[in-house]
Assembly symmetry: C2
Homo-oligomer: 199 residues x 2
Amino acid sequence: MEQQIAPLAHLAEQFGRLPGIGRKSAQRLAYAIVTMPESEAKAFADAILSAQRTVRRCSLCCDWTDQEICAVCRSAKRDASLLCVVEDPRDVAAIERTHEYHGLFHVLHGVISPLNGIGPEDLTVKELLARFEDAAVREVIMATNPTVEGEATAIYLSRLIKPLGVRVSRLAYGVPVGADLEYADEVTLARALEGRRDI
Amino acid sequence: MEQQIAPLAHLAEQFGRLPGIGRKSAQRLAYAIVTMPESEAKAFADAILSAQRTVRRCSLCCDWTDQEICAVCRSAKRDASLLCVVEDPRDVAAIERTHEYHGLFHVLHGVISPLNGIGPEDLTVKELLARFEDAAVREVIMATNPTVEGEATAIYLSRLIKPLGVRVSRLAYGVPVGADLEYADEVTLARALEGRRDI
């Protein structure tokens, strides 16, 4: 009978539309909202509206920002000769957490995937190419995911970018730090051998 | 730099307060909101506010409802002589999904847990005892979780209810259907042996 409580079922349905939230999780989250004080529920609803309204793509790198140009693109401390191309804004966050990269980013917002009907025109490729017009960029690091589609996208873009006289590199493949060789898949292990370095 | 987009970080923080949502999931969900059309984000925010405002405890069984009395308690088709006591509204939903139970429910909204400072006065025990006043109930099924606390709560309540001349039963313990005996824990297996039935 549970399912007949319309506002609760409706809220669970809304949660269920979010990525990675199944039916049970959606119901659990809806219950959590119901037990919240009104002020907290209101703060949550406001946060949703505010984020949806104010967050947009940076007009340079296409990462999310609440400004016209994002903080990374505006920063004078970043090396504008380096451009790291990623699929998703979350990848920017992941690379930023390494504290090892000081160049700029470009977010594709997806990956070329003919099977899903996603071509270069659905990504921010035009915006990426526009960034080479002032010729400050010397190297582009392709940091798309190490998947078939990520690989294909990296190759596609490198063919567009190399003729502009810009160096194009790709993230190193290899065994993840802390992993157990026994459980590494053969392709990764083969790539790790191939890419071995002197110590 | 990602983390500096205030509305996005704030929304992720809100998601992160929900049960079972870790830091990474919260961020993923916040990103999903940002990519939604405004109408969808608005529908989501409205669903939160509406559920929080309209859903309350049924004045009889304490399950969630958007009415004064919930659909189960109002139904003339339910057997009012049977009362199933559960910890959580989600347990009501789980039992309803079996389509095997036609009695009424009582939701405790928790379980006695001295370590967490939760006593009977924090649960809906008073409301439960009030339900025996009109003497329609013949049997109470204790369907609290098969945990130490669920067990202790069931025993505590049965000591209050039995003197009223009401039969008190407990869900059967045993091996879950479809499980592998090899992986069943000893306590469950011992209980399954103890509770064996003739075939």
